[in-house]
Each structure stands twice: as C-alpha cells, then as structure tokens.
C-alpha cells in the first residue's frame, strides 16, 4: 500500500462525486454532523450504532458487516471513499474494518471533513437512496488485529505504539481533554510502549504529513523497523489512524491495531502498567 492507493485529496473527491462505482461514506460517532450537511452523494455509517455489536463488547462480525454493507447499497466491487470528523479517526477505524473484512478498494479523503470545511466546499442535506446489494464479507484478517494476550506478550519484544496524548500516556489524564475525566480503570501505559501521539502524523488541517516527515517521526521515537508493531489508544479509533499511517502510507508489513486499547488493558487484573513520560521497563 502507499499514499497513491490509500488516499485521495478533497479535490479529487469533489471531481468524482458523480463517478459510477464510487461510494462516498461519512463515518462518525455523532452523525448529527452528517445530518446537518455532508459531501454531496455521501451515505453515512454510525460508528457506534452500525459498527459496534449492541450486546457483546466487540465490533460487528463478518455476517453483521456484510448485512450492513448490503443494506447501505455497497457492492464488493465498489470503490469506497471514507471520510469523517475528528481528523478522520472514525473513518480510519472504518477503513480498518473494510480491510479486516477483505474489501478490495477503499480509500480515505485526506483531511476528512475538516479539510472539506476549511476549504469552504459545498455540503448537501440530501440523503441518497442506494439499492440494496448482496455484499460478501471475507473472514476477518487477524494479521491486522491484536488481542490482549498478544499485547501482554509483546511487552519488550515488539514495537508497542501508544498514540494517545502525552498526558494520557503518562497517566495524568484518563481520556482526551474534550471529555469528562471520570472513569474507573487505571491510568498509565503498557510498559515499553513508545509515545507517538496520533496528532504528530497530521497537519493542522487534518491532512497527513508527507511520507518523509512521517518516517522521521517514528524513527526519532525509536520504532524498530525490523520488529512487528502494535498500535493502541483508548478505544482503538485514534490507533486506527496511526495504523493507517504505518501500514498503508509507510508500507510497514506487520502492523496490528489493538482495538481493545486502554479501556480494556487499563481494566485488566494483574497486567503491568508504567506511569510517567518514559516507556518503562519490560
């Protein structure tokens, strides 16, 4: 993968709004943004209602993903162009799902909704009606998804990348600073994890930095290119953004997203936790 195959610009998107075989999808946790205006022709996917299992603590399985895409009118051979708010966090998360379930052609709009807004491009409130399809999802590709036991075993062995803000990494905050801080799990980070906040990979307008800049950021943070990598955050969506950078833009081979992330790890009994700004020892 590379920038050419995984990303499109807002300009490209605007020129291809009517192109057959391309489906634009806005992905957000709060879909009121979509309802108030979206990229013309785009459909919406609600991160919580559509992509999380309503009962189990997990995301939608193969059958649920196939049912969702069928219902939204997405075909296996469509090119899916994802974008969203929060600097594309949830769009990157959905991108990871599309890859996990084996979709052929999926890309992100560089900068997402923010770039679209700052460029003062047009929105539409029209909700397109797409004919239902019979979407076939592949078995999940677990080479890009990490589970908790694997993460514990990776301490001191693989690259662990903590992409939360420095204060969350150190244990001074439990959640991003736009959310109330009351939560029950422990604060801190997985020992030996390198702190590379997701935001380092993005420009102020939400677009990704250049490949050269990105390679420098991870190199200076101490990422060892000869090792496998697991990225995590709090609930797995910011780490999807960093997973996208490492795997899809920089082309690293074995990169997994730990979607259980800190809300799971920080609530486990008996696992090691490091506090403070340093990675800590295995």
């Amino acid at each position: 993968m590379s920038r050419d195959t995984a990303l499109v610009s807002a300009d490209w998107a605007e020129k291809n709004l009517e192109t057959p075989g391309i489906v634009f999808v806005e992905v957000d946790e709060d879909t009121t943004a979509y309802d108030g205006g979206h990229i013309p022709g785009a459909i919406k996917i609600d991160w919580k209602k559509d992509l999380q299992d309503p009962i189990r603590r997990d995301f939608v399985n193969q059958e649920q993903f196939a049912a969702l895409l069928s219902e939204r009118g997405i075909s296996n051979d469509d090119t899916v162009i994802l974008y969203g708010g929060n600097n594309n966090w949830f769009a990157a998360y959905a991108y990871w799902y599309f890859k996990l379930y084996g979709h052929g052609d999926v890309k992100l709009i560089d900068g997402g909704r923010k770039k679209w807004e700052l460029d003062a491009r047009v929105y539409s409130k029209d909700v397109p009606v797409r004919e239902k399809t019979t979407y076939v999802a592949q078995a999940p590709d677990l080479s890009i998804r990490a589970f908790r036991d694997e993460v514990v075993e990776a301490i001191g062995v693989k690259n662990l990348i903590d992409v939360r803000s420095p204060d969350e990494f150190a244990g001074r905050l439990l959640a991003p600073a736009h959310l109330p801080q009351e939560q029950s799990q422990r604060a801190g980070h997985i020992p030996t994890a390198l702190s590379v906040p997701w935001s380092k990979a993005a420009n102020e307008d939400g677009t990704f930095k250049s490949d050269e800049e990105l390679a420098k950021i991870y190199g200076e943070a101490g990422l060892d290119g000869s090792k496998d990598t697991i990225a995590y955050c709090r609930i797995g969506e910011r780490s999807s953004h960093s997973w996208f950078v490492l795997k899809e833009l920089l082309g690293h081979e074995n990169v997994k997203n730990y979607d259980g992330s800190w809300t799971e790890y920080g609530s486990l009994i008996g696992v090691p936790i490091a506090l403070g700004d340093e990675p800590g020892k295995a």
Binding site: D30, N86, A120, A175, A177, H178, E204, C233, R234
Partner: protein, 113 residues
Amino acid sequence: MTSPTANATAAASCAAPDQSAPLPSSVDLTRETVITGIVTNAEGDAVGGAYVRLLDASGEFTAEVVSSPEGVFRFFAAPGSWTVRALSRHGNGELAVDAGVGVNEISLNVATA
C-alpha cells in the same frame, strides 16, 4: 453520585459531546478543570463549525472540538498553561490560558490572516 449515562458515554466514545449542551451533572467542578468559551469573528458574531484545538504548555496537540452553531466550545483539561487555537473558514485565532480548577471562560476571536 455520578450519572451512569454520562459515564457510559464518556467511556465508550472519543467523539466530541454537544458543545452547547449544559455541563453534565456528573461533572464535579471541584475536581474538573473546564476551559470553555465562544469563537467570534471580527464583527463579534459567533462562529459555528470552527475547529478548536487545545495545545499543552509545550505546544503539543491535546484535543480538538467543533464549535456549536452558537460558537461554543469546551474542554476538560487540568490546571496549568494551555493554548486554545481555532481554525475556521472565516480565519484562525489563538489565545493562551492559565487554567485553574473549575470553569475557565475565554473569548476567542478568528480573523482572516
């Protein structure tokens, strides 16, 4: 007592809550450091849809929200020095804040560079 609903929302989500909503009753202002305010343009009109970001004392990105239609934004931070910076289709602006526990109110002006 804290509200289970508000807790569940905070735990499950990373997206920004409605910026113009009243503070949830679960927010304990003797413990929380809230930085809140309104984004305005050169004419003093509220600017909705602005991207407001909170930068820590070293200039590192900490959080970002979108201002409400009334221009309102809100962060839950910690006591200390912060910079609040807004980007919008009407221009950009920023302000340094020395925040303490409780509600810290600021007014943030954006103008075309």
